[in-house]
């Protein structure tokens, strides 16, 4: 199986490693962890892990994961999706999973482009940057995935960097512990399409530049109090760390209670 299919310098492998370390540090039983992925570079990673895995249709990973969690509530379900997969094709499924507050951890690998299909404009491509379908620069403003998820009702929203793997590991651990819909927007990089088309350098340069585009919300991010919504909007650079945290009834429990069944 190894080496994996990802291009040299692609940050997705670093993110996967951080997720695996998070699962290992929480000492979760691999047979009781399910990874659900859609289609795309990021979603290919489900093929490399020794958990229960489900490779779903494009954008529908949150929907498959919702079904899986309802059928087997005792599983720890992790959704791996990309920015195109999760925010464009599967945008609906993502916001409704957040609205229901079902107990999933959703990792959105954000490399600002459709990597697998050849570098087309994605909903997260920054305005003005070039892609194969926007040779004169992308005229559209991008999504801020975290603000979208806060608005949709996710109860744990964070942003991590591939450049900060240990912090990312802690964010994943917090997300896995969170009882409800946990969403982490992970800034990764695509040197092959996004980096090359926009002259941003190869893997190392793109990785190092993440630090310049972001501001951390406190050093031990996961333990810090959440940033208020207004501050997220006015922050000069992309904020990283835990951006939102609230407590709301979890969907699986609500449904089981309605049916008069206890939570296993």
């Amino acid at each position: 199986m190894m080496p994996h299919i990802l291009c040299p310098g692609c940050g997705h492998g670093i993110v996967l490693q951080a997720l695996l370390r998070a699962v290992a540090s929480l000492e979760l039983d691999p047979d009781r962890v399910a990874v659900v992925a859609g289609i795309g570079c990021s979603s290919r990673l489900a093929g490399y892990v020794d958990f229960c895995t489900l490779h779903a249709t494009h954008g529908r990973a949150p929907a498959f994961a919702t079904g899986l969690k309802l059928a087997r509530p005792e599983l720890t379900v992790i959704v791996i999706t990309g920015d195109g997969d999760g925010l464009a094709i599967g945008g609906n499924h993502l916001i409704h999973a957040a609205r229901r507050n079902i107990d999933l951890l959703c990792l959105l690998f954000n490399n600002a482009v459709y990597g697998m299909t050849g570098g087309q404009v994605a909903p997260t491509t920054p305005q003005g940057s070039r892609a194969t379908t926007a040779p004169r620069g992308n005229p559209e403003p991008p999504f801020d995935a975290c603000r979208l998820m806060i608005a949709a009702g996710a109860t744990f929203v964070a942003r991590g960097l591939a450049y900060e793997p240990l912090t990312l590991q802690h964010l994943c651990m917090e997300g896995l512990r969170h009882p409800g819909f946990a969403f982490i927007d992970v800034l990764s990089d695509c040197p092959e399409f996004f980096g090359r088309y926009n002259r941003l350098g190869r893997g190392p340069e793109m990785l190092l530049s993440q630090k310049r585009r972001t501001t951390a919300v406190g050093p031990l991010l996961a333990r810090k109090p959440a940033l208020e919504g207004a501050q997220v909007a006015t922050a000069p650079a992309l904020p990283t760390g835990v951006l939102h945290r609230e407590t709301r009834p979890e969907f699986t429990r609500l449904l089981l209670a309605q049916q008069g069944e206890g939570f296993p």
Partner: protein, 280 residues
């Protein structure tokens, strides 16, 4: 003592400013005029923090001149020596002999050996200062708050000033965060009762655990030559070879920081302690 000059010094984060605030409060409550001047804001860089406190019936200048301080309260050994010239002959040098090595004095990141010099205590007796070594950090830890070393030293200082212990305790209750007031009161009492350590202070610091060596294992079959580890390694241990694959060219410089392992997208690098198990 109805008038006096006290210098409080330490490294950023040790509580120099709180200690000087406490002393100033005690003096104010006793109806004295107090002036205080401090160098602060250095804590984030581990820099030096110093606070002058002068009190009396009427104080004109907040600054203590060289050779004029009645007492020097130092939270760190090198800082005590650095400022000891400010003591007047026979002044009290109240110091915690703890050694904090500044990052700039770190000679080797692999072994953590430092250039913190072995420093002899200033000559005592006669015209020299009265040296009072207090293991403040240890006493503070025993009292329940490791950070209360400043209050322990104030306890030691209080035995040389005329203010009653109740005045000090009142100031602690007012200025210290409520959650740690009790622990700070214990620390203050411990400082008052502490027996000064005998000379000399502990010698230069040695590397914890001796010299450590690390082994970097690369699975070449998985390496795609993306160059991230080569660029990220702070010790310049790795290089790309003619095939574009990573080779460990200077393993002896590795400090075991694991940045290469953490940032390898291809799971190709493992850092282990030499002699330990390295999974390839």
């Amino acid at each position: 003592m109805s008038e006096g000059s006290v210098l409080i010094v330490g490294v950023g984060g040790q509580g120099v400013l709180l200690a000087s605030d406490l002393l100033a409060t005690v003096c104010l409550d006793a109806g004295l005029d107090v002036k205080k001047s401090e160098v602060h804001g250095m804590a984030q860089r581990g820099g030096v923090v110093i606070s002058h406190v002068r009190f009396g019936a009427w104080v004109h200048s907040p600054l203590v001149e060289e050779g004029q301080a009645d007492a020097l309260v130092a939270l760190e050994w090198a800082e005590a020596l650095r400022w000891s010239a400010f003591l007047r002959p026979g002044g009290a040098l109240i110091v915690d002999p703890v050694q904090i090595v500044p990052p700039a004095a770190c000679a080797d990141r692999r072994t953590w050996t430092s250039r913190y010099p072995p420093m002899d205590p200033p000559s005592t007796g006669g015209r020299g200062p009265q040296l009072c070594l207090i293991p403040a950090q240890a006493l503070a830890k025993a009292a329940g708050v490791a950070r209360a070393a400043n209050v322990v030293l104030l306890g030691a200082l209080s035995t040389r000033l005329d203010f009653p212990p109740a005045a000090w305790e009142e100031a602690i209750r007012r200025l210290v965060p409520a959650a740690v007031v009790e622990a700070n009161l214990r620390a203050f009492a411990a400082g008052r009762d502490a027996d000064p350590l005998p000379l000399p202070p502990p010698g230069p610091r040695v590397a914890p655990g001796g010299e450590r060596r690390f082994a970097v294992a690369v699975v070449s079959a998985w390496c795609k030559g993306c160059d991230i580890c080569v660029r990220i390694c702070p010790q310049d241990c790795l290089r790309l070879d003619s095939l574009g694959l990573v080779r460990v060219t200077a393993p002896e410089r590795c400090t075991g920081c694991r940045l290469c392992e953490l940032l390898c997208p291809d799971f190709a690098i493992t850092v282990g302690e030499e002699g330990g198990a390295v999974v390839v």
